[in-house]
């Protein structure tokens, strides 16, 4: 329950050309859950190790509520890390595992018993105190691991892909549980994941990490619908980019002219993007259209995905629950609604 500030953190390992983290800065408000999203090797896990104190940054500072914690040893920081694997101590019972942090602090047996029972209720596994970790399922193990982290009332909860080894149903269930408990207890948390859906569903804000830096940070909805740069756009699944000259609300591309909302801005080479879900496909469309040929279509259940060739460009469009599919090879109109076309800054 603290405001966490990471200031210009850098970390490099011997033998590596580019630093894992390069002047990395991020602020997480009290009670907020921020997720860090990025390809593997983008420094996500390293960052968590720096915050817990398992590793030390080359430069920069980490502040909890305005105070530097770099000189505090890892076991006194109050930043608890939960790993991809549960790491329950195999020789201890569930109760002893969860109570580990309290016992270390010198809590009495009675207090531990009461607190463990309370937290087992919270994670939805009451009455399993006496069991051994080996007799729990993967999902249950992760829940116990979460309980063990929460029982010490961490200043900051760090989650390092805690759900990536679980199957989809268990995973969704746990995502909801973590989100609910984090809200209830008002814990500041940082979640590392490479799953876009998980990041969007669980976090207040999400940060995209690329090459050791924050490429973008915003609310999930904003990043998903209007990413600021083409790099970020690609990461959230946008691959239609229209380049051209912008003049009086018209984007003049090599494929044809499109109306865009520009608030009067003029540029010789602007790039506009649009989400595949916002592109419309059909024969009766009239506004803001280009004509193309259906190259491929794929039925995905919730939507149909078309690959449409417009001159040299291939556009991916997702149409939600259509009544019929447009066959391969058909000439079709593709509409780019002006309200969904947005400019990229970089």
């Amino acid at each position: 329950m603290a405001k966490v500030e990471l200031l210009n953190l850098s970390k490099n390992y011997p033998g590596r050309k580019t630093p894992v983290l390069d002047q990395f800065s991020l602020t997480v408000d009290s009670g907020e859950l921020v997720s860090l999203l990025g390809p593997s090797g983008s420094g996500k896990s390293t960052l968590l190790r720096l915050i817990t104190g398992i590793e030390y940054p080359d430069s920069g500072d980490i502040l909890f509520d305005g105070k530097s914690i770099l000189s505090i040893p890892p076991n006194k920081r109050g930043a608890v890390l939960m790993f991809q694997k549960a790491y329950l101590f195999p020789f201890l019972s569930v109760e002893e595992n969860i109570g580990f942090g309290l016992k270390v602090q010198g809590a009495t047996k009675q207090t531990i018993q009461i607190e463990v029972a309370k937290i087992l209720d919270l994670i939805g596994l009451p009455g399993i105190e006496r069991r051994k970790p080996a007799h729990l399922s993967g999902g249950e193990q992760q829940r116990v691991s979460l309980a063990r982290a929460l029982i010490v009332r961490p200043t900051l909860l760090l989650l390092d892909e805690p759900l990536s080894s679980l199957d989809t149903a268990v995973r969704q269930n746990l995502q909801e549980a973590i989100r609910r408990i984090q809200h209830e207890l008002g814990i500041t948390a940082i979640l590392v994941t490479h799953d876009l859906g998980e990041a969007m569903g669980m976090s207040d804000r999400m940060a995209l990490l690329l090459e050791g830096k924050v490429a973008a940070i915003d609310e999930p909805m904003k990043l998903f619908q209007k990413p600021p740069s083409s790099q970020v756009a690609k990461f959230v699944g946008i691959d239609t980019f229209l380049k051209g000259r912008v003049n009086h609300g018209t984007l003049e591309t090599q494929h044809g002219n499109l109306t865009v909302r520009t608030n009067g801005f003029v540029s010789d080479s602007a790039t506009f993007a649009i989400r595949p879900e916002h592109i419309e496909v059909g024969s009766e469309l009239a506004e803001n259209i280009l004509t193309g040929v259906v190259k491929d279509c794929m039925y995905r259940g919730e939507y149909v995905e078309y690959q449409i060739q417009i001159d040299t460009m291939v556009v991916r469009a997702r149409v939600a629950m259509p009544a019929a599919m447009i066959p391969h090879g058909e000439v079709i109109k593709v509409a780019f609604p002006a309200e969904h076309l947005f400019p990229l800054t970089a």
Binding site: T52, I54, R77, F89, F91
Partner: protein, 264 residues
């Protein structure tokens, strides 16, 4: 057919392993046993009683146990950090370190013993318990390091990190997490060291110089002396502690090992 062959091989192995022990047993409890008889004509516990009333034998037994215990403890203390580093880290010179640790198993013990003898004479350690214990560490360390490093190759340090971020001090993490995770391996490695030290004759003779009398020393002189009953009784005494220790720890070791295996 395969079953029969299996049983035959089993029976043969048991026979080879147990027959000498049985023979020792029969010898050790025989009073009179002359040629045409299949079994001794008179049975007696006299050889054993004689053994236990002899202060030299009792002293030898205690000396052997004491030395073997101290040697296994020291072996573990020295081998632990070495094995942990070799098992968990990759660093330049790692292969060389391995080679260095394994040299004692390659170099003839006599060469090592003679060299140490001269060195220990200069250091005034020859003929002392400390000297014998140090010399026993030479053949035990390669085995303890090897056993423990195998353990650490499958070890996950994140268990320790998890304990630390939950608030445990380094000390507590070491005793309550690390040691408990590797405990079965520690016992196995300790047993190895114990057995190697227990059956050590040459180094004890060279460094102890006849002043440190362990069971193997007594056994050797008894064998050259020639009373079969005494030799048999002494041999049984020599075999008993290791067999006892292994029998006692095997069960518990198995359970503990399985519990950890399930986690991985």
């Amino acid at each position: 057919m395969k079953k029969i062959l299996n049983a035959a091989i089993r029976f043969f192995l048991y026979l080879v392993l147990i027959a000498p022990l049985l023979l020792f047993g029969v010898y050790a409890f025989s009073e009179r046993w002359f040629f045409p008889d299949v079994l001794p004509s008179t049975w007696s516990t006299a050889p054993f009683l004689r053994l236990f009333s002899d202060p030299k034998t009792v002293g030898g037994l205690l000396t052997s146990i004491g030395i073997a215990l101290v040697v296994s403890l020291f072996s573990l203390i020295v081998a632990f950090p070495a094995a942990r580093t070799l098992g968990l880290r990759r660093f330049p010179g790692r292969q060389f370190a391995w080679l260095l640790f394994f040299l004692p198993t390659v170099v003839p013990p006599l060469a090592v013993g003679m060299g140490m003898n001269i060195l220990f004479l200069r250091l005034d350690l020859a003929g002392s318990f400390v000297g014998v214990i140090l010399s026993h560490l030479v053949p035990t360390l390669p085995y303890t390091i090897f056993t423990l490093s195998g353990l650490f190759a499958n070890y996950d340090e994140n268990y320790e990190y998890q304990a630390i971020v939950l608030g445990a001090s380094k000390r507590r993490t070491f005793f309550n997490v690390t040691l408990r995770l590797v405990f079965p391996g520690l016992i196995v490695a300790g047993l190895f060291a114990f057995l190697i030290s227990w059956s050590q004759y040459l180094l004890t003779l060279l460094i102890g110089g006849g002043k440190v009398l362990t069971l193997p020393m007594l056994l050797f002189s008894a064998v050259s002396g020639g009373n079969p009953s005494t030799i048999a009784a002494l041999s049984l005494l020599f075999i008993a502690p290791p067999v006892l220790v292994i029998a006692l720890t095997a069960r518990q070791l198995n359970q503990h090992g399985n519990a950890i295996k399930e986690q991985y």
